[in-house]
């Protein structure tokens, strides 16, 4: 039995791709023009509790006198950063009240940072000292770039048990009363 195949006569569908290509090129041009290569950025992550100023420019206590807890603030190592005339870092001291130690005042920024790192690490390495926080009191005129170098030094410090120092906070140094 043979079946006679009937050939269907159908029209060939032609899709007009020009409009689609036109739109695709416009989309491509937009994406190329707005494309920005992702910049290489890094971060210093800090957990920063509310800071409390402990001394003014002259090292004078600026506490409000309401603290009745004799241990409050004892675990906080205070670093004071003063500006020079050019808005960079001038003098760096540590401690508060009558126990202020000059850490660095001369040399390049790198030398000051190296001295600061050595000084702070020596203190934090001592298991007999209670410090596990660093409070940076910084003069407001210092450039942010220089401040980040100090924060960078603190981020590299380790406590005497080998754990990295995580509690770093900073505050604008209150102006001394003249």
């Amino acid at each position: 039995m043979s079946r006679k195949k009937k050939k269907n006569q159908h029209e060939e569908v032609t899709l007009n791709l020009t409009a689609m290509l036109d739109m695709a090129f416009q989309l491509l041009a937009y994406l190329i023009l707005t494309f920005r290569s992702p910049s290489v950025e890094a971060q210093i992550a800090l957990r920063m509790p509310d800071p409390v100023a402990v001394s003014d420019k002259k090292g004078k206590d600026v506490g409000d006198g309401t603290n009745k807890d004799p241990l409050k603030g004892l675990d906080q190592l205070v670093v004071n950063v003063y500006s020079d005339k050019a808005g960079g870092i001038g003098q760096i001291t540590s401690g508060k009240k009558d126990k202020i130690t000059e850490v660095a005042s001369k040399g390049t920024l790198e030398q000051k940072m190296a001295r600061l790192k050595r000084h702070l690490q020596e203190i934090l390495n001592d298991p007999g000292l209670p410090f596990d926080k660093v409070a940076l009191q910084i003069e407001g005129d210092i450039a942010y770039d220089d401040v980040m170098q100090v924060v960078d030094v603190c981020a590299q410090l380790k406590l005497h048990d080998g754990k990295p120092l995580q509690n770093v906070t900073f505050i604008e140094l209150p102006s001394g009363k003249k």
């Binding site: 791709l17 994406l31 290489v40 971060q43 992550a45 509310d50 003069e139 942010y144 980040m148 960078d152």
Partner: protein
């Protein structure tokens, strides 16, 4: 004088390969496009810091604050003059979304990304940080760039 139309066949280039290639390019650009970059002021010169870690705030909601050399705060391309009001609104919205009470710490799921220009004064940056701390943000990420030659 009239030109005669010869029996030239209409040239019909095959557009399918070129369309295919264009779509592949579009796919590539859409995949590499950085939506977050819109919130970042690319004109800022970030500080160069040696020990900074690669930026990663995965899983955290980020509040991005750009501070230029003059100390102006730029958020999403708009200069914010009332930074205290802005961060207070942000904090209220986050607390509302997360079901937190007023005064609760926002550090668990939110990080404040501070992108400060290295020419800015510390007091400008600190004013922003202080405003954030006052409304409950205590987790900060200070954006920097790697030292030349130390990129990961």
């Amino acid at each position: 004088m009239s030109g005669s139309v010869g029996g030239a066949e209409a040239a019909e280039p095959n557009l399918v390969p070129i369309l295919d290639m264009v779509f592949q390019l579009i796919t590539f650009f859409m995949l590499v496009i950085n939506v977050k970059a819109a919130t970042m002021d690319q004109t800022l010169q970030l500080p160069v810091v040696g020990s900074a870690a690669p930026a990663d705030s995965t899983g955290l909601r980020a509040v991005v604050l750009n501070i230029n050399g003059e100390g102006d705060v730029n958020i999403g391309g708009v200069v914010q003059t009332d930074i205290k009001g802005y961060v207070s609104n942000e904090a209220d919205q986050i607390r509302l979304q997360d079901g937190l009470k007023k005064g609760d710490d926002l550090s668990t799921r939110t990080i404040v990304v501070v992108r400060g220009d290295k020419r800015a004064k510390f007091k400008s940056v600190y004013a922003v940080v202080k405003a954030c701390q006052e409304v409950g943000f205590h987790r900060f990420s200070y954006m920097t760039t790697f030292e030349p030659g130390k990129e990961p």
